[in-house]
């Protein structure tokens, strides 16, 4: 090119080639993504191979020592066990109760607004509020639930300080707090079942129970799978309400694995070891996702 504008133009052209408009649009996200997700993922993996600590000394490479230590750490296994146990205990009622609520509300009884508010409003409460509220409800002597047990002539329950009850109490709180989310997902799914299926069933003489059994529930089977998958993944990440209700107690009997990571890293200052346990937890999440993915695939065939 011979025109005097040539060099700036080719300059602009190569910038355009290096940064095509599409990439420019993706760039803000990709930057945040790289800085606050990919980098920390790598950083965490690196830290898990060192003895990095919150105290001053420089970290040194220790190979897989943290991982071998973790695999022999009884407290780690116990915490992992609590996470899995919580997931099992919470997923079943969180799906079943949500389905029950949605089926009942969808019958079209008056007061839709009230039902939705009652079941979904707790989901909007910050976990700090939920825990303050339930610590008060579970209080011995003064708490509502023990008063109600008194009225029924039953013995009081040490909801949060009895090792055999505490996990159930946490599950109960979680059910109350988050079931509204699954309830709304079910309600939306119910409303998208096509009318003609019911009309056909009715023409075939199917009664109400029969329609529920052979139209509604089969139509909900896919959404039930999806809700269950999302619930399992959410339950595996449990930390907030356990930490605030029992601090993992009594005697660490409810401490989930995320809290163990927190305790090791921020109370025990061993960031390297905490990272290793984080990655063991991540392996569990990936495993659960992979299992569910295969299950979903198999169903769809």
């Amino acid at each position: 090119m011979s025109s005097p504008h040539a060099s700036p133009r080719t300059g602009a052209l190569s910038v355009r080639r290096l940064l095509p408009p599409g990439l420019l649009f993706a760039l803000p996200f990709l930057t945040l993504f790289a800085v606050f997700m990919l980098w920390p993922l790598g950083q965490g993996l690196w830290m898990s191979l060192t003895d990095q600590s919150l105290s001053a000394h420089d970290p040194s490479y220790v190979g897989l020592d943290n991982f071998t230590e973790a695999l022999k750490d009884a407290e780690m296994w116990r915490a992992l066990g609590h996470t899995v146990w919580f997931t099992v205990l919470s997923t079943v009622p969180l799906v079943a109760v949500a389905l029950g609520m949605a089926l009942l509300v969808h019958t079209g009884l008056p007061g839709q607004w009230v039902w939705r508010l009652a079941f979904f409003a707790p989901y909007l409460l910050p976990v700090g509020v939920v825990s303050l509220l339930w610590i008060w409800l579970y209080q011995p002597d003064l708490g509502l639930y023990n008063h109600l047990l008194d009225l029924l002539g039953l013995d009081q329950v040490a909801w949060l300080s009895d090792e055999s009850v505490a996990m159930w109490a946490i599950v109960l709180t979680t059910l109350w707090w988050t079931v509204g989310f699954n309830f709304l997902l079910y309600l939306a799914a119910l409303q998208s079942i096509p009318d003609h299926l019911y009309e056909a069933a009715a023409i075939d003489g199917a009664g109400a129970w029969r329609r529920l059994w052979s139209v509604t529930l089969p139509q909900l089977s896919r959404i039930t799978m999806v809700i269950t998958v999302l619930q399992i993944l959410a339950s595996l990440k449990v930390f907030d309400q356990v930490y605030l209700l029992t601090k993992g107690g009594p005697n660490n009997s409810t401490r989930p694995v995320i809290e163990y990571v927190y305790d090791i890293g921020f109370t025990g200052y061993r960031l390297g070891y905490a990272s290793a346990i984080s990655y063991i937890f991540f392996a569990l999440v990936i495993l659960a996702s992979a299992a569910q993915y295969t299950a979903l695939r198999r169903r769809e065939k």
């Binding site: 606050f36 009652a118 909007l124």
Partner: protein
């Protein structure tokens, strides 16, 4: 059941809410599909079951409200556990409010959640547009990476985020609380799918008129996507408002704490005073519950569309 019995009941009042999710079949319904038989008894049974459940679900909040209006003395009196002998009072509320930290935490929560929402929605929408409507080398691979990242639980990143903020000297700043929360691969995925579903004709017209990518994105696609953007924004806002673990780890200065973090620090600092504790819980719960009452339809829709994470 004979066919003559079919459309017996008048259409139930479908009040707001999810109705607009199902635009495909907005025709008024002749009857309800799941009614437990046409009889009056089964209807009453269903109503009874619902009422019991609603009472069980509302009871904790009612109890908190009642406690918040008691004097501290009555709240811890097991003999008069239901109605307080001293009557109801606003003392708990005024004590908590005057202490001053609660309004501050509310403001922090609002500023942080608003910032997270604005950044996340803008950045994710732009990325969604890039992945849906433009071509550049590595586009597919970057999108696949984004989708894979949906699996990464934020809890996994707490330790490295902390280390990162420590070395950048950002701990105890708004930036430290906000920035890590703005990375939302799932929202990029949802918005990309959403843009994929919009017809290309409209933007082609704009293209012919000489509009560049930014004009097409900003003046054609975004206005068309308002309901979806609102759904995503509401979802992100609720998530940020209620987020606990990262704000808890990244702030130790009470002046920077968010509501969920601050309110639990009081319990430890002041010992347990039930009336005050419930008064602060009620005040802290109020903003989002009030917003829900006004925008119920939008929030319900937001959860139903974004809650599945594009599954």
């Amino acid at each position: 059941m004979t066919s003559t019995e079919l459309p017996v009941r008048p259409a139930p009042q479908v009040t707001g809410g999810i109705r607009d999710l199902t635009a495909r079949r907005r025709a008024p319904r002749g009857r309800t599909h799941l009614s437990l038989g046409e009889g009056r008894t089964s209807r009453l049974l269903a109503l009874a079951a619902l009422t019991v459940m609603a009472v069980v679900w509302l009871l904790p909040m009612a109890w908190a409200l009642l406690t918040a209006f008691k004097t501290e003395q009555d709240a811890s009196d097991p003999d008069h556990w239901f109605w307080p002998p001293d009557g109801l009072t606003f003392d708990g509320f005024s004590t908590v409010w005057k202490r001053g930290d609660l309004p501050l935490w509310m403001l922090n929560s609002f500023l942080i959640s608003a910032a997270v929402t604005v950044i996340t929605v803008l950045v994710s929408a732009m990325a969604g547009y890039a992945f849906s409507r433009t071509h550049f080398a590595g586009r597919r691979r970057l999108f696949a990476l984004t989708v894979a990242a949906v699996l990464v639980p934020p809890q996994l990143l707490i330790v490295p985020w902390f280390q990162q903020m420590l070395s950048l000297h950002l701990l105890d700043t708004y930036a430290a609380v906000i920035l890590p929360q703005t990375v939302a691969p799932v929202m990029v995925f949802i918005l990309k799918k959403h843009f994929d579903s919009l017809p290309k004709e409209l933007e082609e017209a704009a293209r012919i008129d000489g509009a560049g990518h930014w004009r097409v994105f900003w003046s054609v696609l975004l206005p068309l996507s308002r309901p979806m953007l609102a759904a995503v924004a509401i979802f992100v806002f609720i998530g940020a408002w209620n987020n606990f673990l990262w704000p808890f780890v990244s702030t130790s200065d009470p002046a920077l704490m968010t509501l969920p973090v601050g309110i639990t620090s009081v319990k430890d600092a002041y010992g347990i005073q039930y009336a005050q504790s419930m008064a602060s819980a009620v005040l802290a719960a109020l903003p989002l519950v009030v917003v829900f009452m006004f925008f119920q339809r939008h929030i319900v829709k937001s959860v139903a569309t974004t809650g599945l994470g594009g599954q």
